[in-house]
Symmetry: C2
Subunit: 487 residues, 2 copies
Amino acid sequence: MADKQNEKKVTPRSEDFAGWYNDIILRAELADYSPVRGCIVFRPDGFAIWEALRDELDRRIKRTGARNAYFPLFIPQSFLQKEAQHVEGFAPEVAVVTHGGGKELEEPLIVRPTSETIINHMFAQWIHSHRDLPLMLNQWCNVVRWEMRTRLFLRTTEFLWQEGHTAHATRAEAERETLTMLEVYRTFIEEGLAVPLVFGRKSAAERFPGAEETYTVEGLMGDGRALQCGTSHFLGQNFAKAFEIRFLDEQNQMQFAWQTSWGVSTRLLGALVMVHGDDQGLRLPPEVASTQIAIVPIWRKPEERDQVLQAAANVFQALKAADLRVRVDEREGVTPGFKFNDWEMRGVPLRIEIGPRDVAAGEVVAARRDILGPAGKSRLAIGAVAERASALLDEIQRNLLKQARDSMVANTRQFIDYAALRVQMEGEGGGGLADIYWCGKAECETKIREETRATCRAIPLDQKVEVGRCIVCGESANERAYFAKAY
Amino acid sequence: MADKQNEKKVTPRSEDFAGWYNDIILRAELADYSPVRGCIVFRPDGFAIWEALRDELDRRIKRTGARNAYFPLFIPQSFLQKEAQHVEGFAPEVAVVTHGGGKELEEPLIVRPTSETIINHMFAQWIHSHRDLPLMLNQWCNVVRWEMRTRLFLRTTEFLWQEGHTAHATRAEAERETLTMLEVYRTFIEEGLAVPLVFGRKSAAERFPGAEETYTVEGLMGDGRALQCGTSHFLGQNFAKAFEIRFLDEQNQMQFAWQTSWGVSTRLLGALVMVHGDDQGLRLPPEVASTQIAIVPIWRKPEERDQVLQAAANVFQALKAADLRVRVDEREGVTPGFKFNDWEMRGVPLRIEIGPRDVAAGEVVAARRDILGPAGKSRLAIGAVAERASALLDEIQRNLLKQARDSMVANTRQFIDYAALRVQMEGEGGGGLADIYWCGKAECETKIREETRATCRAIPLDQKVEVGRCIVCGESANERAYFAKAY
């Protein structure tokens, strides 16, 4: 199959970003379309990235004190209706189970689009006293939202995510938790996925349905469009009032709990592709790559075969012993050049080539995925291969982040002139991040959205105390905001 | 809350096994009932056991060469109908999505009760040549079966499981894979969960719908009923033919693939409770206990407090550094006796008590959950606490398996007289495992089931070459089989 797949070149990224995106996801075998509308299949090479990402984020979430739990997939329809904004936000996009066990159900069940309602119903059973707080739970699960236009990883009817739900005794503590999790996401995505971010508050129009405040981390994709990579919501007492989550405080007074929820999803896999990928295919950060190193043994004459394969096996063992994720490509009937292209397509961060002369010299050639061609090649002594390869992987991780950050900086522009903003945002592709003064009024936001298709991505938290003029209405504005066209 | 919960004693196990079972699951906070019919909530202490169990089994599955993937939650209704026995087995118990995004769907979607159909649809896209085989995938996911009578962990409308699906070039290889996975389950459940098992083939009546052969591992619960703990199915070419999974073999001939599927579910949590639990509550094997050691600091006078808490903190650090899962119980306002009972209820394998005199002696008291009272207590030097506690945990793990195995042996009986079998199986509770000669005919099996409520649990693979007489019809029988009343 590999041969056949490589017959057709991938769509070049610069020519058709969306076509390129789909091509490399399918060709690198990260995912496939399924026969169910809007649902995709996560193939092993894609799911392994999700597993690496999930395990690392899970450790970070647990370090904050949250614990994992699991709540039902189904939500009684009446639950969704208890919080007014929530039902308005989610009712149009739910999947509904009407029959079970051969009979029509008395009350239809919603396949969870998010779990605030059912989790808060349970919180109300468990929380009675300030001693029961804080209650901090997280779940990894599948959710379903009936999307009209779907796109691999970014917007699918079913997707995988984690959703954290917490309840606290005071507003201040819940607000602190909201920002703690935003910071967990920011550091995890930058360190693990090498995806640089801007972050901040959402505008009222972009808030989670039912939240008092939504915070977001946003990445900038290779085509200049923004992607929301994770959100953390301060829910105030909205759900606590709807679900009667009350507790006796230390003064024996009945209080409603203060709450948060926060999540990231499999759309992060899309961010990885769109931030790091190039015309040769994927480029995976070593931290989350399912294969970090591919070893390609090279020989021509039959008598060379054994010694080369033996050397490859030794290098494999040395790398494996150092806890690196490594594979030996022993496929026969395909050329080394074919194998190089194939591993580049699959985004493996480091390739190790071993030929007869390398064996004789006690060395191997290491080729970096982040720097193609001779500049990214170096010779490693077989005796020190694990140590040197580990160091190279660290360097690749840092360099991918640096390359992505440079690109984000180059595509972030300050505008004071609305006409210039419009020109920048015109055309089919992205337009980068626009850093502008905005008065905060919904009319001005709507005008920008309707005329430029850019939406408010994030209002940074660390505003310098300056006052400017709203790019739309010219009135005094004391906050800057990032606007961009977004996925 | 802890105080209130302890006011009411749990139902004694010997008095009402089912009542005891529910009581301790709720009291130990493993799970809770949900507002959705037949669905439960996995609370953090229960879910942590599932996570420990899942992570260890996942490692063992991956070692066999299978890789994880993820397939859609929804299955087009028409897919279920492609394999005749499969649709007959599952159609009556499915949940059906009829509406999505506010509209009625053209074709209803089934919430997966198991994923053979959708996975094999994808296999048909991916498998073309013998070089694409074997294809060995596993997924951890939720599934839904509309059960009429539900019971915490054992039978719930939604449950969590892993389902492996493999395709092979030859019958022999697929048969080998089926047995390999049976052995993975057997060793994992005995070693990790300390649950002893019998294992073997299922009778035709008990086979998975669509399988040529089903193999099973079966545990014996504390009330003398059997519980199916895992199954591995040899599917032959049934699904390959239904979904047209064909490949060119090495002779360039088109062949249908040979397949297997295999799974274990969250009902294993029920097995843990029912095999190990006692009147004091849960008893968790150290391998899967979310908390392996609870440290209870004890003091009376205020001046003792600091030194005891300091010693507890030191012991905590030493245990933590040895990678043990440990907690310090610093709750105020409850007595040490209350705390002892509470940790016993929660099944924590080892309790460490530290009082002022212990601190002075440089020692702590370790109390084993598997041996209550003075016989299970020993004094450990604080300087060697991690090493000694680790050794005790290993001993507890072995002892729980031994206790369970002794109980299983004591409750396994050979019968040659059908009347004696009937007497043994009478009454509300279990009746243990009956080891009998059975001719293999469906009539005799049906008679046993209808008259004794015992079903064929497993036909052992390692039959001694002896010939006996069927316990029902008296005809010659060359196989023994385990029959039992089952969950």
